[in-house]
């Protein structure tokens, strides 16, 4: 099969889309990179051609047809509720449907790379410890972007059935972290006092932005059909992560947690907690990345731990006064007056 020549990147005005477009345009094998989004990009996109088009409308089909796009990198999944839930759902699900309809029509199309989320596995107390790509969710996500991601994957599988000649890669990303990421999660970690769900300490996984972009780039320029989990190796539990970040925490009973989030959102401009974030902060989720590492013969450069460490460092967190105090105390005990 010929390599990707003309690549269309959706959601290019957002952080991930812009970074992926940048990585792709550096590849001399790619003739054109076309970025689409509903709002103009805030940063310079280099040789990426920006087209302001709403993927919820059929005009996306015109762009794909007229530019003879052969590869679509669909990064439009909105995971951070900025406006109303209805508009987010519209963008995620209806946008994907329009895009896929256009892809199905286009004779030039040969590859589709879709950004999905590990949130499709849901979070429940009866989950297996580690999800592989074959596992069905124990409790399917019933709200928010997680549900959108499930629906998006469903439509993508539908397209794959109808156009079996397409190479389709679906990537289920763990939560992104890194120096440049701004998400409900990073805002959560940056709260002055971080509320946790009383009596629960979830296992968490992160993927560093650089690794995520590398995976998307490899999926675009090489052929790796299938569904893949993407996450850094290893896990952190929430309490451990917050200690590493030196954040003061307050355990809150789970019914009060959502309420607290709402109050904080209204009064203090704090992130608020979506239902799926809340479940994740209660039960956590771990995915298996064996298949991806085997397929790409590559391991993410950053483990979950290292991705979190970079986030802590970049945000100037990590000051832990209590640890300093213990250090002084133990210094006094062990050195026996040598200072």
């Amino acid at each position: 099969m010929p390599a990707a020549r003309i690549v269309l990147v959706t959601g290019v005005s957002r952080f991930l889309g812009a970074r992926v477009a940048n990585a792709l345009q550096a590849d001399p094998g790619i003739e054109r990179v076309i970025g689409v989004d509903t709002v103009p990009p805030t940063t310079s996109l280099g040789r990426t051609e920006f087209v302001r088009v709403d993927i919820r409308t059929p005009s996306i089909a015109k762009v794909i047809a007229s530019a003879e796009v052969d590869t679509v990198v669909h990064l439009n999944l909105v995971t951070a509720p900025s406006g109303s839930r209805a508009s987010m759902k519209e963008l995620n699900v209806i946008g994907t449907m329009q895009l896929l309809a256009a892809c199905q029509r286009s004779p030039d199309m040969r590859k589709l790379v879709v950004r999905s989320s590990a949130a499709v596995y849901g979070s429940s107390p009866c989950d297996p410890a580690v999800f592989t790509e074959e596992d069905e969710p124990v409790e399917a996500p019933s709200s928010g972007y997680a549900k959108d991601a499930v629906e998006v994957e469903g439509y993508v599988r539908g397209l794959k059935r109808r156009r079996s000649d397409l190479t389709v890669s679906i990537l289920r990303f763990a939560n992104f972290l890194g120096a440049g990421v701004d998400s409900p999660l990073t805002r959560y970690f940056r709260m002055p006092v971080v509320p946790t769900v009383l009596g629960f300490d979830p296992r968490l996984q992160f993927v560093h932005e650089d690794d995520g972009i590398e995976v998307l780039r490899r999926m675009t320029v090489e052929d790796h059909p299938g569904t893949f989990n993407v996450a850094g190796d290893g896990v952190l539990v929430l309490s451990q992560a917050l200690r590493r970040a030196g954040r003061p925490t307050v355990p809150v009973p789970s019914p009060a947690m959502g309420l607290l989030g709402d109050v904080g959102k209204r009064l203090g401009g704090l992130p608020g907690f979506s239902a799926e974030l809340l479940r994740w902060l209660t039960y956590g989720r771990v995915v298996d990345v064996e298949r991806l590492e085997h397929e790409l013969r590559w391991r993410p450069k950053y483990s979950s731990e290292a991705a979190f460490a970079e986030f802590v460092h970049a945000n100037g967190l990590g000051q832990n006064l209590v640890v300093d105090l213990v250090d002084r105390l133990s210094g006094a005990v062990t050195s026996g007056g040598r200072w």
Partner: protein, 305 residues
């Protein structure tokens, strides 16, 4: 790694000699000082989040630190005797299958302490769904190295060469009335045999004697159990009569016996798909454990003295 670099940097900022290096030296300190130093070093690790957790949530650092509590019960309260240690492989995957009793799953903890202290292996137990729905219990259980009893988790642990422990009777065993003591209940649906066959590892039968007497369950308040969502609400001679004091287990004499591994080598992985083979093997393991229970019970003699 980055995290560690950052913290090391802080150490230097505060002009502190790294503790772990200190305690590794055979320094001539008195035991009190050493205890304080290692205690502080543990405290520092915990406060800074400077420890490793595996994908199942097993936190060895934390689990070792809490071990003295169940160990005290194991050694002094229940005066546990462990036999048949030679049946536990020094390394590689194996599945320990044991009887379950005692109203509260204290036997699971004692088995874990015994295997840890005498066989020097971490026993990875498989727990009921309920454990992971209850606040506190769920994450403490994961930190202790347990995980949810499901095929996927068991297979994953065994593939990693871990020693896995399972109680196929589940709630039927741990919550049975005192009158049915030492009578094995149904062994689930034989899921543990299928898992062992698929993983190609031996099953080690294990009989635990003594747990039946710690909280003799003489009655069960069904309506209360339903109200709280528990599988049963036990009445024992001391609970709820004496309130929290009723939670102190009676000091029965315990014996844990490991039997010879049931070798599954003659079967191939496809046997896991053959229900008849699975049922037969399940029965065989169950019979073996029942016989071991009777033998060990005879050897122990009276329950308390």
């Amino acid at each position: 790694m980055n995290a560690h670099d950052a913290f090391d940097g802080e150490d230097q900022g505060a002009q502190v000699i790294p503790l772990r290096a200190m305690s590794a030296e055979p320094a001539e300190r008195n035991p009190v000082e050493r205890t304080i130093a290692s205690g502080l070093s543990f405290l520092r690790r915990r406060l800074a989040g400077d420890y490793e957790v595996d994908e199942f949530g097993f936190d060895q650092d934390f689990s070792e630190a809490l071990m003295p509590i169940p160990r005290a019960f194991y050694e002094h309260w229940f005066r546990t005797e462990l036999r048949g240690l030679e049946n536990i492989p020094a390394q590689g995957g194996a599945l320990i299958v044991a009887n379950h009793s005692g109203t509260l799953p204290v036997d699971a903890l004692m088995l874990q302490v015994g295997v840890h202290d005498y066989a020097h292996r971490n026993l990875r137990l498989l727990g009921a769904d309920l454990v992971y729905q209850v606040p506190m219990l769920g994450h403490l259980s994961r930190k202790a190295g347990h995980t949810l009893a499901c095929q996927a988790d068991a297979e994953r642990l065994l593939q990693k060469g871990e020693l896995v422990g399972v109680f196929p009777e589940g709630f039927k065993g741990v919550g049975k009335p005192y009158s049915k003591r030492y009578k094995l209940q149904r062994f689930g649906r034989g899921g543990f045999v299928a898992t062992a066959l698929k993983a190609g590892i031996p099953i080690i039968p294990c009989a635990i004697v003594g747990a039946e007497e710690i909280y003799p369950k003489i009655a069960d308040l069904r309506p209360l159990a339903r109200l709280f969502g528990f599988p049963y609400f036990p009445i024992t001679p001391t609970w709820p009569l004496f309130g929290p004091l009723g939670l102190i287990p009676l000091p029965s004499k315990w014996m844990i016996q490991f039997g010879e591994p049931v070798d599954l080598e003659e079967y191939d992985a496809d046997a896991a798909e053959d229900p008849m083979t699975v049922f037969n093997l399940t029965d065989q393991v169950r019979e073996t454990i029942q016989q071991m229970l009777y033998d060990t019970l005879l050897r122990r003699g009276p329950a308390f003295f």
